[in-house]
């Protein structure tokens, strides 16, 4: 049986977080009533206004292209892509066909302990289309409603080179891309809300072959999981087509999430004859070098560089570094805790196990987290100093998370300070030994388990505040005497 290699290229559309549309002042806010965020320009009404390019949209596109290691064009130009569809108000989409803003970049992904570069063919700016609302599904709907609120919202399209070799790489690429774009805060990248959308070009070829074979284009994958499953299914499908001695047909296929299969879309007269030409109403915009410099300076440290620093400078394991740097806010939070308490691994443990668990279970974003980084630092210091036990600390931590109170206040309020005074603990130990002669007997017969029980009894008496090491030490001393 021949070995196949999978070849995948992705086209990712991302909506930019601008206040207004690409060429007019209409709001881009999500969830407005249909057709309330439109004007003569974005409705394509004759005799309306002329397009005026949104500065923020250009800035965000350049920022994205820079963050993806692209070469930046000298000027911003726009072309018309001419076709007819009900969600397209002007009969053409304004996009960057001839000269994308960014070219020849890459994104690095980490896979099985090694890293791999996925080439970025181009990054370009274009306008979104409106939205069709069908009665039931598109096939049976007797007519459809059109809402043009999204028409004209700025999008960037990121096109990769066909460098992706598996569904897992595709998923890792998308996650890294989302992480980078969120670091630079140009999009919220929510696949479920459609602010990040992904199409995949998929083909297979005999292992070792260099040429590109017939590909299919896969659409309608609305989550990272769907991207993974859709590609996985499509690769298998192509493999069985080839194994049957048939040819893969070039076509656009839809991922059906419910059925878990890909389906061919009707391929009638959809010639890719877009007759692209430069939009005569939009002369080129020459990018000033100072502005480019300013944008470059505004880009924060990105996940990859942070990852290297976290593994190097802080000595974190790759797994920790990957998780902590996936989100800029979490990485920032982590480093803010370190400024007050410089124990990288211990802080990492607390954030990864405790903080992220609570954030997820309460569906809270790190920005809304009530625990201030310096307070987390203080809490960890208190454990080190023996002021409280690790176990008590977890309770305090939950209280901090719920109320935002400072750890020392919670400890004081609830009297949680650890008992580390030998005399006090010795008295309690004596009374526990006196009250549990059976266990004492068991221990002396060699049943070590009895020690655990006795420690538990002391902790119970002190409501968990006794210093556990001290309790252990004193119990042993007295039992072994």
């Amino acid at each position: 049986m021949p070995e196949f290699e999978t070849v995948i290229g992705l086209e990712v559309h991302v909506e930019l977080l601008t206040n207004t549309k690409l060429f007019c002042g209409c709001s881009t806010a999500f969830g407005a009533d249909p057709n309330t965020q439109v004007c003569p320009l974005c409705l394509g009404l004759p005799g309306g206004t002329l397009p005026k390019l949104n500065e923020k949209a250009v800035e965000y596109t350049i920022k994205a292209a820079m963050a993806l290691n692209c070469r930046i064009a000298d000027e911003i130009t726009f072309d018309r892509k001419n076709y007819y569809y009900a969600d397209l108000p002007k009969g053409f989409q304004i996009s960057q066909f001839f000269q994308p803003t960014g070219r020849d970049g890459y994104v690095e992904i980490h896979l099985d302990g090694r890293s791999k570069k996925i080439g970025i063919h181009q990054v370009h700016l274009e306008e979104d289309t409106g939205k069709l609302l069908h009665m039931g599904d598109i096939i049976s709907s007797p007519y459809s409603r059109v809402d043009f609120n999204r028409a004209g919202v700025p999008l960037i399209e990121i096109v990769t080179e066909p460098d992706i070799r598996s569904p897992e790489e595709a998923r890792l690429f998308l996650q890294k891309l989302r992480s980078i774009l969120r670091y630079i805060a140009i999009s919220d990248c929510k696949m479920e809300e459609g602010s990040m959308r992904c199409d995949a070009n998929i083909s297979i070829r005999p292992a070792g072959s260099k040429e590109l074979r017939t590909k299919t284009e896969l659409k309608n994958m609305n989550s990272f999981r769907a991207v993974f499953r859709g590609i996985e299914y499509e690769v298998e499908r192509q493999r069985s087509v080839v194994m049957e001695g048939k040819e893969v047909i070039p076509q656009t296929r839809h991922w059906d999430e419910a059925k878990g299969i890909t389906k061919a879309m009707r391929s009638k007269l959809v010639s890719a004859n877009y007759r692209c030409f430069p939009d005569p109403n939009l002369p080129p915009y020459k990018l000033p070098a100072e502005w480019l410099e300013e944008i470059r300076k505004s880009i924060p440290e990105l996940p990859d560089s942070r990852y290297s620093r976290f593994t190097g400078e802080y000595g974190l394991p790759p797994y920790d570094a990957e998780i902590l740097t996936a989100s800029r806010e979490i990485a920032d939070y982590y480093e803010a805790v370190l400024t007050g308490y410089n124990e990288p691994k211990s802080v990492s443990n607390w954030i990864m196990s405790e903080l992220l668990r609570l954030l997820n279970s309460t569906n809270t974003g790190i920005n809304d987290c009530k625990i201030k980084p310096e307070d987390l630092g203080k809490l960890l210091q208190m454990i080190d100093k023996g002021t409280i036990s690790g176990k008590i600390a977890k309770g305090v931590f939950e209280e901090m998370f719920a109320t935002g109170k400072k750890p020392e206040d919670i400890i004081k309020e609830k009297g949680l300070t650890q008992i580390s005074d030998e005399d006090t603990i010795a008295k309690i130990v004596d009374s526990v030994l006196a009250g549990n002669p059976g266990s004492v007997e068991d221990y002396r017969k060699g049943k070590n388990k009895a020690l655990g029980f006795l420690v538990g009894q002391v902790m119970k008496e002190t409501k968990g505040k006794a210093n556990p090491q001290l309790v252990n030490k004193l119990l042993k001393e007295k039992l072994d005497r």
């Binding site: 004759p46 005799g47 397009p51 005026k52 007819y84 009969g91 059109v146 007759r275």
Partner: protein
């Protein structure tokens, strides 16, 4: 009352000393409009209520319109592809026969500010493409010199009959100048971007401009001064501010150097009589101190071909929004694509349907490089050629059109690709240069003399026109509408 007595300056006096009542003025203007409409079909919309209201405002001492407004007492019309929220704006197409745009055009607002009153919206070729009088949904405009011939558009007929002092219309490949030449009036297509295109329902954005027509140079200059200038809402409008052309026209002019393409007689359908007339004009210009130089412009002759291709492709794209979804005519169809096709096939004229198909053809994958792209390259070559020529000379002189107003006996009698009427005019659109047509009145239908100038130098063209106007006596026909009741 003779229509030509409506000189705006005289009118201003009459209004000031109240020797005329608003009612008198309104009713005479409205009845003149009606006569012109009945005889020549110059307008698509005339609204007597709007006219009366605007005139009342002129007389109102509470001064809605100050009588020091530069265009106080001027009346004008707009081509029906210039948006007005008060009037339907149809582009002379069934597609838009009931369309009211949500906004007013920049030029409309400017003229209002300057005190001019709008008389109506003029008839034209559908979407302003061409000038042969075949495609208006509202039927063609008759030429007041001879009603068997086309006027080109209603804007020119309105100016010629004196029902307005000036009119605004669009110019894609020379339509404005061609119509003015057919009707024997003045027209100026300014530099691309000199007048904002905001509110122009354009068919070919890279070529098309709003231009002006008038019965004399000074009115042309007055109207230009009012509407010219940078508009921050049109990024293709010129950044430089427009001067006050009226005051600059008063200064003395230097000796002008004019270039004439040495092969100017190669135009298809060139009328023999025009050859003599044009040569006569060259002689006259020399007498007036304009130096004539014959120059080689090898690519100038391909202007109309080039502009025809480009305008067809841009129209194919610009008019793609006419799909029956958000505005305009819609035909019933069983599904979306059928609705599109029926809507566009029923809503556009036969001529436009062929033109748009032509645009789709020359930009299709198979022909894109050899025709559309080549045309865009040729456009650069023609532009460079003209710019180089105009570095050495102040203006380029040609006839405006190779023939007089099409009609019986004057070729061409049918649509052609490329448009032969654009032989001399299209170059200015390709290069974005200003061009002015000066009327040459003869015994029959008039001819036109075209001056093409340097970018942003409308002034030199106006000066040359004024020079000629002061020397010639133009023989405007005396339209007598008295028997219609004025």
């Amino acid at each position: 009352m003779n229509n030509r007595s409506y000189s705006a300056r005289q009118l201003k006096e009459q209004i000031k000393n109240k020797s005329l009542s608003p009612q008198e003025l309104s009713s005479s203007i409205i009845s003149l409009c009606n006569s012109v409409q009945e005889k020549y079909n110059a307008f698509i919309s005339i609204d007597p209520d709007i006219i009366s209201k605007e005139i009342e405002a002129l007389f109102d001492d509470k001064l809605k319109v100050g009588d020091n407004a530069p265009l106080f007492g001027f009346s004008y019309s707009l081509g029906d592809n210039i948006a007005t929220s008060g009037y339907v704006t149809t582009c002379a197409s069934k597609m838009l026969s009931t369309y009211k745009p949500p906004l007013d055009a920049h030029v409309f607002l400017k003229l209002k500010e300057n005190g001019a009153i709008i008389i109506g919206k003029t008839n034209m070729e559908e979407f302003g493409i061409g000038c042969s009088g075949e495609s208006s949904y509202f039927k063609g405009v008759k030429n007041p010199w001879n009603t068997k011939h086309t006027a080109g558009n209603g804007a020119a007929a309105a100016v010629l009959t004196g029902v307005v002092n000036f009119s605004l219309a669009s110019d894609v490949r020379g339509e404005l100048r061609q119509a003015a030449s057919y009707c024997g009036v003045f027209a100026l297509k300014p530099t691309y971007g000199r007048i904002s295109r905001r509110g122009l329902l354009d068919s070919a954005s890279s070529l098309e401009n709003i231009g002006l027509m008038a019965g004399n140079t000074m009115d042309l200059a007055a109207a230009l001064t009012a509407v010219a200038g940078h508009d921050p809402h049109d990024v293709t409008s010129l950044r430089s501010e427009a001067p006050d052309y009226i005051s600059l026209l008063e200064g003395n002019s230097k000796e002008l150097q004019a270039a004439v393409p040495e092969n100017w007689q190669d135009a298809p359908y060139l009328e023999d009589e025009l050859k003599d007339i044009f040569q006569g004009q060259l002689k006259k210009l020399e007498e007036l101190g304009i130096k004539i130089h014959f120059v080689q412009l090898p690519h100038f002759q391909h202007s109309s071909l080039t502009a025809t291709i480009i305008s067809a492709v841009e129209a194919f794209s610009n008019l793609a929004n006419y799909d029956g979804v958000r505005f305009g005519y819609r035909a019933e169809g069983r599904h979306l694509q059928e609705m599109y096709t029926l809507t566009r096939s029923e809503g556009f004229s036969s001529k436009l349907k062929k033109f748009l198909t032509f645009g789709a053809l020359v930009s299709s994958a198979k022909y894109y490089n050899d025709y559309f792209l080549k045309a865009q390259k040729l456009r650069s070559v023609i532009t460079k050629e003209l710019e180089d020529c105009l570095q050495r000379y102040d203006l380029l002189l040609t006839p405006t059109t190779p023939f007089r107003a099409p009609g019986p006996g004057i070729l061409p009698g049918r649509e052609e690709l490329p448009d032969p009427a654009g032989y001399y005019t299209a170059a200015a659109n390709l290069a974005g240069l200003p061009a002015l047509t000066y009327p040459l009145h003869t015994k029959g239908l008039p001819y036109g003399l075209q001056f093409t100038g340097k970018k942003e130098d409308e002034l030199t063209l106006l000066k040359a026109a004024l020079l000629l106007e002061n020397e010639n006596t133009l023989a405007f026909p005396n339209f007598d509408f008295n028997n219609q009741g004025v």
